[in-house]
């Protein structure tokens, strides 16, 4: 009896001791007020060293009740001989620990990208705090640090602005592509595919963009624009694609959700269609050492914008319009592909198509694929467009206006 009671006492004491010991065991705990949430990282090269610019949120400014004159984000910069070192060095300037799990954008300076991005990617995929849901972009003709520093109106967090911008542009313009980490690494490591990353432009004076006045104006003098796609060879940035080429690339990669294209009418003026439901089927074959690629693009479209006299009451007219578009897009794609082939980087992933189609033959050409891609590859493009609807009206009233004008004359 006595023993049991003693033991109970000892037990309770031990539990208390163990609990206190365990309580000290919160190694990983960090309060929300101790972390600095980074939303964008800019990576540049400065001599031998890597310059990292981190866009850090100022939560009180974004979600707080009081409005002050401070900015919603602040940028911290640090240099280091490796990317990781630079990031850790940020803590020497930043008041809090940099927290990377909520990163939206990683912006690579064009200079830096030309020198190769592999080591940065390695850290990003190695670090446990990094997720894979942020986008990559290249600062076009600019340094990443300049892009990171620009304040944006409407969206208080610039990185979110860019992220949203990319998403929206990808969905309804098709000239850009949001590339995530695993896709980037996969295309860089794949032998039959090269990487492509969207570009970011700073319009206006980058210096002015860092100031609060930039967001105070109704039309911000300095803005960030997403456009054009940069292509890589291995991990090195090579060149920019123009608008048509970018669109072509996205069409083939099946990334187009919604875009528009236009053709001139017979009697002058233009007609534009909204293309949706684009599906590209890329098939390939390799016969006698000659690789062949067939690109079949099937699209559905609506008439979006008629700026000429076009009789839209007749089905025949519509079919004519369809074939006109088919031809124009086909032409556009063919020239774009040719241009890209000349660049010598297979951003389309045609190599992988050949690989899947005839793995044995692929093994022979795998080594010099980029040359084959540039010189020998035959690409056939076949576009089919089906115009379904003409919008909420059928016949354009332009005709009437035209007549009226003529009468007036």
């Amino acid at each position: 009896m006595v023993n049991q009671l003693m033991q109970k006492k000892i037990k309770s004491i031990c539990v208390i001791i163990i609990l206190t010991v365990l309580l000290s065991g919160c190694w990983d705990a960090r309060e929300l007020s101790d972390i600095a949430i980074a939303t964008a990282l800019g990576v540049d090269k400065e001599g031998d060293q890597i310059l990292v610019s981190a866009q850090i949120l100022n939560p009180g400014e974004i979600a707080g009740n009081t409005i002050s004159t401070r900015t919603a984000v602040s940028t911290y910069q640090a240099k280091g001989s490796t990317f990781f070192e630079a990031i850790r060095k940020l803590t020497t300037i930043a008041p809090r620990r940099i927290y990377l799990a909520h990163l939206r954008m990683i912006i690579l300076g064009e200079e830096f990208a030309r020198g190769g991005v592999a080591d940065v990617l390695d850290f990003i995929s190695r670090d446990h705090e990094m997720r894979t849901d942020f986008n990559f972009a290249i600062a076009r003709e600019n340094t990443a640090e300049n892009v990171v520093q620009v304040l944006t109106p409407l969206e208080k967090i610039p990185a979110n602005k860019i992220f949203g911008n990319l998403q929206a542009a990808e969905e309804s313009w098709a000239g850009v592509s949001a590339v995530k980490l695993d896709e980037l690494i996969a295309s860089m490591t794949s032998k039959g595919k090269e990487a492509s990353v969207t570009g970011l432009w700073v319009i206006g004076d980058p210096e002015f963009g860092t100031q609060l006045e930039n967001v105070e104006a109704s039309l911000s003098p300095t803005e960030i624009k997403t456009d054009f796609i940069g292509v890589f060879k291995n991990d090195r940035f090579v060149d920019w694609l123009n608008e048509e080429q970018s669109k072509t690339l996205n069409r083939i990669k099946n990334k187009v959700k919604n875009t528009i294209s236009w053709v001139p009418c017979d009697d002058g003026g233009k007609v534009a269609i909204e293309v949706f439901k684009t599906h590209a089927n890329v098939s390939g074959s390799m016969k006698k050492g000659i690789p062949k690629i067939n690109v079949d693009v099937k699209s559905e479209a609506n008439v979006g914008d008629v700026a000429c006299a076009l009789n839209l009451t007749k089905p025949k007219e519509l079919r004519k319009l369809e074939s006109k578009f088919e031809k124009s897009i086909e032409e556009e794609m063919k020239t774009s592909i040719k241009k890209i082939q000349e660049m010598g980087t297979d951003v389309f992933g045609f190599g992988e198509v050949i690989h899947r189609a005839s793995p044995k033959e692929w093994k022979k050409v795998k080594g010099q694929w980029n040359e084959i891609f540039a010189n020998e590859l035959e690409v056939k493009v076949n576009v089919k467009i089906k115009i379904r609807r003409t919008g909420t009206i059928n016949q354009s009233f332009l005709k009437e206006i035209e007549e009226k004008r003529k009468q007036g004359e």
């Binding site: 365990l22 065991g25 190694w27 990983d28 995929s125 446990h128 997720r131 894979t132 849901d133 695993d182 690494i185 996969a186 490591t189 794949s190 992988e352 690989h355 899947r356 793995p359 044995k360 093994k363």
Partner: protein
């Protein structure tokens, strides 16, 4: 019998399933993908077929006398001394296995979830939880597994469904055109993790309510478990790509990071990881339980709980000292563990089966 509790057939199925998934789900996709590349899922299918064969063999072993557990069986078949020696082999293996599993979960948590926490500490709290489970007995382990099973199972299935939109099956093409040798060779390390460890269920069998359904349950549990494993490997390949999968240490966790439903249901990879905690927890607990059971048989103790506390501490330290680092661990798992596991998980049960069979025949002929 030392263990007085009984578990139901359903509980047994759940335990087998959890055990099969256990640590395999976090290490296998990477392991197979690094040799079989895009064909890793085929490796998994082959391993599953072989695994079913192993289950058949184990079922034959336990059919010799299903009222005896593994340790009693080996003494019964091989005689007291040889049996004890074989028991020692089994016990060492289970001890190392428990320690390895503990290390795996510790490694997983310290690389992905709580990075700054010392691994000893993570292993300690995990082992203590396991110790409580073993102390409460097999019945409680069975019931608890039944409670957590729906969560673990649905979250794994949900994972598979939610990442499906991200899947690009061009990643796994061309099917079985390249790395064919690697595809088949990779079966060897793949077999180790769930299938060659399944023999520990020979120690659980006698405590299942009904024997015949339990044999069936063994198959069902292993098959469902391996199908999920295969699907997860396939998804890892399709979503992340073979190279990315092979490069990751815990690719299925990265797979969880890919979940994104309507921009709302994201960042929930920890909830998926929790499902693995459960499966690994039950694997460790079951291993630890069998270890205790075997120890008490070996020393003819009165209770399975007697040695639980010292053994728990031995396992924690073992988990730390077994592998110096994760590379060493990976090397061992890929190149050496299969043969050790095969010795214990196939050869010894085969031996039991053979000797048992011969003895039975002798008996019959004597009677005849």
């Amino acid at each position: 019998m030392i263990e007085k509790g009984k578990i139901g057939v359903r509980q047994f199925t759940v335990l087998v399933l959890m055990y099969t998934l256990g640590t395999a789900v976090i290490i296998l996709p990477s392991l197979t993908a690094s040799y079989a590349h895009a064909n890793a899922w085929i490796t998994m299918v082959i391993a599953m077929l072989i695994g079913i064969g192993i289950v058949f063999m184990l079922n034959c072993v336990i059919s010799i006398d299903w009222k005896k557990n593994l340790f009693e069986l080996s003494e019964h078949i091989l005689g007291k001394w040889v049996g004890k020696a074989v028991s020692v082999l089994f016990l060492t293996y289970i001890l190392l296995l428990t320690a390895t599993n503990l290390r795996q979960i510790g490694e997983f948590i310290t690389t992905q979830v709580t990075v700054e926490t010392p691994i000893q500490f993570v292993m300690f709290i995990f082992m203590m939880t396991s110790l409580i489970g073993v102390r409460l007995g097999l019945e409680v382990i069975g019931r608890t597994s039944e409670i957590f099973f729906p969560y673990a199972f649905t979250s794994l299935i949900l994972l598979l469904i939610l990442v499906a939109p991200e899947a690009d099956f061009r990643n796994v093409q061309p099917v079985l055109q390249e790395d064919i040798g690697g595809t088949f060779l990779a079966v060897i390390p793949t077999l180790t993790t769930p299938y060659l460890e399944l023999f520990i269920f020979l120690a659980i069998f006698p405590y299942v309510h009904r024997f015949k359904p339990a044999k069936k349950a063994f198959y069902i549990g292993v098959i469902i478990g391996s199908v999920i494993l295969t699907l997860i490997t396939l998804m890892c390949l399709a979503v992340l790509g073979p190279d990315f999968t092979a490069r990751q240490i815990f690719p299925s966790y990265i797979l969880g990071k890919k979940i994104s439903l309507a921009n709302f249901l994201e960042r929930i990879e920890i909830l998926v990881a929790i499902a693995w905690f459960f499966t690994i927890f039950f694997k460790i607990t079951l291993n630890f339980y069998v270890l205790n059971l075997g120890m008490s048989h070996f020393f003819n103790l009165k209770s399975t709980k007697t040695l639980s506390t010292p053994l728990a501490f031995i396992i924690i330290i073992m988990g730390i000292i077994l592998f110096t680092d994760i590379i060493y661990y990976n090397e061992f798992v890929a190149y050496y563990a299969p043969y050790y596991s095969a010795t214990i998980g196939i050869l010894l049960p085969m031996l039991l089966l053979l000797v048992g069979f011969i003895r039975k025949k002798k008996k019959k002929s004597k009677v005849g």
